[in-house]
């Protein structure tokens, strides 16, 4: 066998393995959308997305997923609000301020947080946080938006911290040296030079953290509370889209309307996560730091 032929064969093997993930994603998309389409023969896309009544098992059934979409967005919003400061500030600390031995400890510990199974976080929220919220603040229920958001934030922090840290680490040393040469302090250098230079990476980190939160199922199923009304406050219960799919898919008659409606909910969720990823990709390209500080 000639060397050239070998090269070609090896190249094609690598191509095929790379193709597997693309093909799997493609097939999943086709399957989700194919199973989702039949519901739109019964409900219009508009009524499905903006209807406020979710009664899939009643006669006649009603398929309005606005409360579910709203539930997903609101827990994602609040978890981001909690996770971004913690994640970004830890990244700055680890990358710019921590002594090497502290960094050696903190970095893997934060990454370890990502390894906690979501069911464990859900259980923690259910048996520790929920009763604590109820007793301390005399809340009617501890299974609410704020409890969910706190647990989801815990899941998003490692994503945000580790990607932000990579971005900060990638800021060329010349930038910092130039800043110090001009007499800037450490704080000024971090705030005015390092963070702006890494902003595209940090934004990507934030959006990927949000994508992580919106797709999470177990936490929102266990501690969302499961109400299908649009919440009136942050202490109300919600049922985000993944929770609805997980709780109801088991009993939905195969290829019945409820089944198709849940697939359509999955399609909406899929498109939302896809949008998050596209935005992250766009930002990381659009605002990429160009040029360098060397002479």
């Amino acid at each position: 066998m000639s060397r050239k032929l070998k090269e070609i064969i090896i190249k094609n093997i690598f191509f095929l393995t790379a193709l597997v993930s693309v093909a799997v994603l493609g097939l999943i998309m086709v399957f989700i959308f194919r199973e989702a389409v039949p519901i739109f023969r019964v409900v219009s896309v508009f009524d499905f997305l903006f209807g406020t009544q979710w009664y899939p098992t009643y006669k006649p059934p009603e398929f309005g997923i606005l409360p579910l979409i709203f539930g997903s967005l609101i827990v994602t919003f609040f978890s981001t609000l909690i996770a971004v400061p913690i994640g970004v500030l830890s990244a700055i600390y680890i990358s710019e301020l921590a002594r090497p031995w502290i960094k050696e400890i903190f970095k893997p510990v934060i990454e370890l947080l990502a390894g906690i199974p979501s069911v464990v976080l859900g259980f923690f929220g259910l048996v520790i946080i929920a009763p604590w919220l109820q007793d301390t603040f005399d809340m009617p229920t501890g299974l609410n938006i704020i409890n969910c958001s706190m647990m989801l934030a815990l899941m998003a922090v490692p994503t945000i911290a580790s990607i932000s840290e990579d971005a900060l680490y990638a800021v060329p040393r010349e930038f910092k040296e130039a800043s110090y040469a001009l007499g800037a302090t450490k704080a000024e250098t971090i705030i005015r030079v390092v963070v702006p230079a890494a902003v595209s990476g940090i934004s990507t980190a934030v959006i990927l953290g949000m994508a992580r939160a919106i797709g999470e199922t177990m936490v929102v199923l266990m501690i969302g509370g499961g109400a299908t009304a649009i919440p009136e406050g942050i202490f109300d219960s919600v049922r985000p889209m993944p929770a609805s799919i997980a709780a109801e898919m088991g009993e939905a008659p195969f290829r019945g309307l409820h089944y198709h409606a849940l697939f359509a909910t999955g399609a909406v969720l899929f498109m939302l996560t896809l949008a998050f990823n596209l935005v992250a990709d766009y930002i990381s390209h659009r605002f990429r730091q160009v040029g360098s500080g060397t002479l």
Binding site: Q53, P56, P67, T141
Partner: protein, 256 residues
């Protein structure tokens, strides 16, 4: 008339209600242990599916959480099938609250309004000035189905009500929440929660058996005419002492 093939092999096919499923499952396991000759296969699908399967002669026993409907009887007759009902258990659902809640009795009407979200504070039903947090079950559960039928009479459960996927989880939540109300099968009631009377009637096995307790319904197994062979031995086992013990263990009320 019995389906001959199922009989000759000593096989019993059971299909129907998901509420009755755990009872049938446990009984089948116990019977198969006692008599390895008998093979039982069980599937869910719902009461309607079970009865339809009985009419189509693809099951020996149809389990059902309701009595047969007139149109099903008519269809069965036209197929030459004579469904015979065996009452095997009583499903009694009990509303529960936190032990510290002063309310101890609610009417069916009040329960219905609470779950529809029309009564929203405990002081409207003689309790403290607290918001009511309703906890409901997932729509697939037989408990939800009973509650829907006996309390709400088809009205919609308020979208504000919370959803839990098991009776155990509801007990756990209610025991720690003074605002909450939930409903569970009678077998799940324990000391950590307070069972409410409904229309002034306490949820006891006797009251459920006599029909006095309003949130109870019989569970059935239907056969095609008087059964014989392994089907008969299964029904006999179910109605006997051991079978009824299983009924109680699965959280239902025995028939006597």
């Amino acid at each position: 008339m019995m389906s001959g093939t199922a009989l000759s092999q000593g096989r019993v096919v059971i299909k129907g209600s998901t509420t009755v499923l755990p009872v049938a499952q446990a009984a089948a396991e116990a019977l198969m242990k006692k008599d390895p000759q008998v093979q039982v296969s069980i599937s869910g699908g719902g009461s309607g599916d079970g009865i339809k399967a009985l009419i189509d002669r693809i099951t020996d026993i149809a389990t059902s959480s309701r009595d047969i409907k007139p149109e099903e009887s008519a269809l069965a007759k036209s197929h030459g099938v004579k469904p015979l009902a065996h009452k095997v258990a009583i499903d009694a659902i009990v509303p529960i609250v936190h032990p510290g809640n002063p309310v101890s009795n609610l009417s069916v009407e009040q329960l219905s309004l609470i779950y529809q979200g029309k009564i929203r504070n405990w002081n409207e039903v003689g309790g403290e000035n607290r918001k009511i947090v309703m906890i409901s079950r997932d729509t697939s559960s037989g408990t939800y189905e009973s509650w829907q039928e006996k309390i709400l009479h088809g009205a919609k459960v308020s979208p504000r009500s919370q959803l839990q996927v098991s009776s155990g989880a509801i007990v756990q939540l209610i025991s720690r929440n003074r605002f909450a109300i939930g409903y569970i099968g009678i077998g799940y009631v324990n000391k950590s929660v307070k069972a409410l009377k409904v229309n002034g009637i306490e949820a006891t096995a006797e009251n459920a058996q006599s029909g006095k307790y309003p949130v109870a319904r019989p569970l059935f197994m239907f056969t095609d005419g008087q059964p014989g062979g392994p089907v008969a031995s299964f029904i006999k086992f179910m109605l006997g002492r051991e079978g009824q013990k299983i009924v109680a263990r699965e959280g239902f009320v025995p028939i006597k």
